[in-house]
Symmetry: C2
Subunit: 287 residues, 2 copies
Amino acid sequence: MVERFSNRLAREVSKKGAAVVGLDPRLEALPRDLARNAPPEERILAFYRETLPLIAAQVALVKPNIAFFERYGAAGYAAYEETCRLAREAGLLVIGDIKRGDVGSTAEAYAEEHFRHADALTLHPYLGSDSLQPFLRRCAAGDRGVFILVRTSNPSASEFQDLPFEGGNLSQAVARKVAQWAADSSPDEPGFSSVGAVLGATYAKDLGPYRELMPRSWFLIPGVGAQGGEVADLAAAFDTEGQGALVNQSRGIMQAFDPGDEDWRQKIEGALSHFVSELSSLCKQVP
Amino acid sequence: MVERFSNRLAREVSKKGAAVVGLDPRLEALPRDLARNAPPEERILAFYRETLPLIAAQVALVKPNIAFFERYGAAGYAAYEETCRLAREAGLLVIGDIKRGDVGSTAEAYAEEHFRHADALTLHPYLGSDSLQPFLRRCAAGDRGVFILVRTSNPSASEFQDLPFEGGNLSQAVARKVAQWAADSSPDEPGFSSVGAVLGATYAKDLGPYRELMPRSWFLIPGVGAQGGEVADLAAAFDTEGQGALVNQSRGIMQAFDPGDEDWRQKIEGALSHFVSELSSLCKQVP
């Protein structure tokens, strides 16, 4: 029998903490002398071939955002596949940040393809249950997970996600459904399920109320660093064992150097250990 | 100066009508003897190489759904690019059914990549304006268009899209923003803008009210045929000149034959002309 994603996640987080490193490759931010005359997808892969072992030494998860790979067409898409493969080979769990969302038969195609590469996926909620079922089935029956967009980290998130309904706003209505999908996916097991939620660090004050709405969901929290969120504000997302939340940082780690720096590896390692210890102190503060 | 997407669309629709052919490649539904021993992406391309000229002879637009290409990984992604190229070479306008939606910097990457291949794109609204701006800029300043998901054709669309607010439901709130983005994208020109909306044919009774909310947006209407929507119910989406709406059919055209049929080309041509004449009669009925 395969191990559930949520169980594997809990084990990894207890070993290495809640840090997730976002992989959003930008050519202009790569080390200047690394494969400098190679095509974009080769430069990206050269960078990750060197850095994924450094990342795996300190953290448990990476989150490649497929947009920054697709940017280079089919060759970039192949680099996404290879990045996921290299990450898993290094022992990392991979959250494929694909943010897909389509009608049922199309969702089947996305689920089949993207769960080949990643342990978990980010998904759009707008189309409702039937657009998520092909993914949720893999959470219930297997070793895969999802993180559904509930409250995103961008400034205009409020336009729709804060629209007031009777009983709350839209993101809270989505959160209630996530809680139901989470409960349905592992009705007989206590603890966290493999159906999680994306909640932006830029709206940290709402994490407590979201936790009440989604007691059994892992929170994937992007928006720390370049987007303005602060690690110190995220305590409400964690349980008393420091479980239940994952905090993503992308640019703050993978662009912790200038492209001309020769000591870029050391700077990435330094940024990683700073991030890991910041999160570790935070979890110790959780009452 | 480039021609605006909305103007080109109006011209094409006045020549060839409002039909859109959805390209959702399924290996099991391809003609059995066409490139039968080739890898999936070659079989898909062989099919479209033969059929895109047949399609272009009768209709103005195709809508490839990238999920069914991504299904075959990087090679499938390359087949999507090539399908878009072949379609445009045949004189067709291409709506890339990608349903992307991510924060601003990521949206830039998606816009740059996907407008290389398609004239217009489908997009998720959940993250609000800043997630759409990189696309909307190309609608305002250039020859590209977008169709934002407002009311989708799937059964569980109602879960979130029908949530009641003061002044309407969620899909109507999205529709009001689409109207604003449409107005902002071409403030000095009358007529339809390049900022459109996706509205499922399966909720045809709501098309009139949506038209009132979005007077300047092209409607892209999927869900006819296999999903249960009826062409005859869609009159309210069109203006008195038969403009303003596009109706998509996928399986009803591109799977209008059994894989073993030798006359599959004729069956596709027959299904195309039936669809085109159905739409043409509908537009003549518009008062």
